[in-house]
Symmetry: C3
Subunit: 362 residues, 3 copies
């Protein structure tokens, strides 16, 4: 299975990019990102088409990038504007430029056809704007595992009981059934654990005296954004499913960026409805998240290593897999849709142009 | 060439296994070993058939193993006894279990068909029981070399003159002919060096005043056990071949466990007929063995690295190769016999069942 | 593309070889070099044809090499002169011997047919003998890049403006055209930068008060020797192209030795026409060269890493590539000539003998 390219992915937190030529790899594309003199972010293919040196080994000349080998210079659109030693510029001298967008302190990159890069498709969440909520940025967690392994972990409330027993889960939830369904390109998995002791995280931050009702809603907006709505409320309140704001509620956001077939970056952050201005609490929560996500990383990397080896027996399918299976189906549909679209475009021009997005070596 | 699977291999010294989930790899099989609450050792395939996480990343629940990802739980026979979130267990939910046997402080594992695992086939040596002898355990030496390279080194008395000149060999033996023959699945190579100065090892431990008669008998019990009967006696005694107990005599045991095509573990130990209760002497002897076996390791790993590259000229065959050649022939016979047996079984059921031992990915 | 084998390559500085068995790899051939008791250098294939142990793991016995595994012993011609344990030597027991030549403190090795190893073909430079000049040895720079990438860098005066802006280049030369032509197996690229500020190197060593005329002549003698004749003269002297000795003039020599498809060693040194006996100045110049060549190394290794990945767009060809293109053409011609020669030899004997030089595994 390939990646979905016609989508906005997170390149990084906006503040991590400046006037330095910053290399990164997304879906095996080598990309260099920098800001122009007036602060606009630019993303270009990170390879000079002359001798293949990464442009990130060169330097900025104003808003253009000069290659560090022979000085070929490319503007923000990727057009070559100078070839030292000659006055003409060959037609082939350009590099791909990637659409970028900056929102809520996050830099998004569009990996597909530039014409299709609609900013309205960028993920957003009402809580960013609502009173009583505030965003707190986390880390970029690098995971040596295929992006689908990471993605299905984010459609899977069941794992918290076993992978995160001291922070986000506890034994009370082990056998509670999970509800899963698909809404267009979003997979939603959820469960409520009613009238049980709080998990470690809510012991630390909820100040609960007795049992709580705990919920986990995993909304995976394919191909790359997960919103985990989770929280706890005093069981005596007997809150309804739509009264989650009466409890301690968090949105943990995970933005998955596939680096290669075997590596994924997970940029994570959270919003919470308590102590929004308490930086110390934000740091303490992030410390717990770091602990939990490192547990996921260990699991997902071990699974990836096994996937490099032949399977000895057929896979076992169980009830809790439903969310992950829905997710793989959504991604599969999106990839197939893209391939169909490209084939159509390709037939339309009689096969005369190269496929711009899934271009392969020649 | 493949490995012989229908045989007992050494998994490790018995004392190295306890209530921890201990992962190890034998013939590319990932295996987890642990002891039950009443101390019995258990070996299971180290991979949950659900998402392929190694079971060794999970934890023991009584005598069963709970997977660290979603809690699937397997008993000592490898049967799944719990799937959290549901009341039924899918038919495919099991893992392979490997027969084990514990003898003389050694844990043996059977890598082939469980039904064929006959404990009477486990290697033993009368000296373990005889007065005047005592076992002294050594190390698990990991060698980055194919198991056959290591095995043929243990059918090869000739190398000691050149590889171990300060410990087990000296120049006096360089040109002494070697006798080799095969007895069923055992290859025996031997030589006597009469009336010569003692080698370093017997200088250190034999207290000899003059020349000695030195012997090396290498008994390789295919596929994986080598007994090296070696010693020295004062030359003036003029002992016969069957009077070795009159000299200082040792049995160095090597138990080879193939990890993969390019890695082998050599568990080694010795028995001796002098100072059986002198732990200090045991330690000093082991120090000399460690030195010598590290010399073998260097040679065998260099050879393996070369075997990854094309040969530039045909191999040279010489007289001292006879033991190694007999050994390779025995192993080849054993592997072919296994393949024939599997084919017969496979034909018998009309090809309907998977081949249980050499199962390949699907 | 393969390597040119019928040529003299630099094995190393002569002083680096002595009585130690020194392993090195050239064009994927494992080679061991040592000196005989009377100081003559010997190069043999570094692999015993018995069990494939590198001979460099053995030891010298007089002028012969004894294998460290079973004592097979090879003389300076590669003939086996002893097989312990037997009185005869099998016909196949020999190793390839490589012609060597020592000149000007450099040890040269012939990688092709021994019969064709003509010492008159060894590179030399008149300046080695001329008054007013002296050789100063540099380092062996290991570069993880294909030999042709390194070679074309040495037919390319254009890169110095961008890769070495603080030492060997400066912006004044960026757009100065380059002259390139081929003379038999030599590619010559050159340019003059007239009436401009001196580059860092000549600021440090030239003691110039004003503008200089600076020249770069790159003479690449295929397949493996580059002579870079560069220097500066006070612009007021208005020297002609043939009056370079009136300025501060250097010959930087690079001897390329391909190790494998992705690794190359560049042995470099220089001769200069100023302060020939001033060792301190030699050291300071070498320090600047080291800085500059490390800049090349970084570029060339980054290019190699990219070459391991598919190209996304067609290469751009520009004016300054002419020298590099001529070089690749010369090498291609030489390789093809060798292949033709081998095919002719092979046909001549009815295909009965193995091809001695490009021998492949069987």
């Amino acid at each position: 299975m390939s990646f979905v390219r016609n989508a906005w992915y997170v390149a990084g937190w906006a503040e991590n990019f400046g006037r330095a030529l910053t290399p990164l790899t997304i879906m095996d594309d080598a990309i260099v990102i920098y800001r122009t003199e007036d602060g606009r972010a630019v993303a270009l293919a990170d390879e000079c088409p002359h001798k293949r040196l990464p442009l990130s080994k060169g330097k900025l000349k104003g808003d253009a990038v000069e290659c560090g080998y022979h000085g070929l210079t490319f503007d923000c659109l990727g057009n070559c504007i100078r070839v030292p030693g000659q006055t003409t510029v060959p037609k082939a001298a350009f590099v791909r430029s990637y659409p970028l967008a900056e929102r809520r302190g996050i830099l998004w990159i569009w990996m597909g056809e530039a014409e299709a890069a609609d900013p309205d498709l960028i993920f957003d969440l009402p809580a960013f704007d609502e009173a009583g909520w505030a965003p707190h940025f986390g880390d970029a967690l690098e995971i040596e595992s295929n992006y689908l392994n990471v993605a299905e972990n984010l459609c899977d409330p069941a794992h918290v009981s076993f992978v995160h027993p001291t922070t986000l889960g506890n034994p009370e939830s082990e056998d509670v059934p999970i509800e899963s369904h698909r809404e267009d390109k979003t997979v939603i998995t959820s469960r409520w654990i009613r009238d049980a002791p709080p998990v470690g995280f809510f012991k630390a931050f909820g100040n609960f005296q007795g049992h709580v009702d705990r919920w986990h809603y995993y909304l995976f907006h394919a191909p790359c954004v997960a919103v985990i709505d989770f929280g706890s409320a005093d069981s005596t309140l007997k809150i309804g499913e739509d009264e989650r704001d009466r409890g301690v509620r968090l949105f943990a956001l995970h933005f998955l960026t596939p680096v290669s077939e075997t590596r994924t970056i997970d940029h994570w952050m959270h919003l919470r409805n308590i102590a929004q201005d308490d930086e110390a609490m934000g740091d303490q929560m992030n410390a717990q998240f770091r602990l939990a996500f490192d547990e996921d990383k260990e699991i997902l990397e071990a699974v990836q290593q096994r996937e490099a080896r032949p399977r000895r027996q057929p896979p076992v399918r169980i009830a809790i897999d439903r969310g992950a299976n829905l997710l793989r189906r959504v991604i599969k549909d999106m990839v197939e849709e893209e391939i169909d679209l490209e084939d159509a475009l390709h037939r339309q021009d009689g096969g005369e142009t190269a496929r711009p997005v899934r271009a392969v070596p020649h």
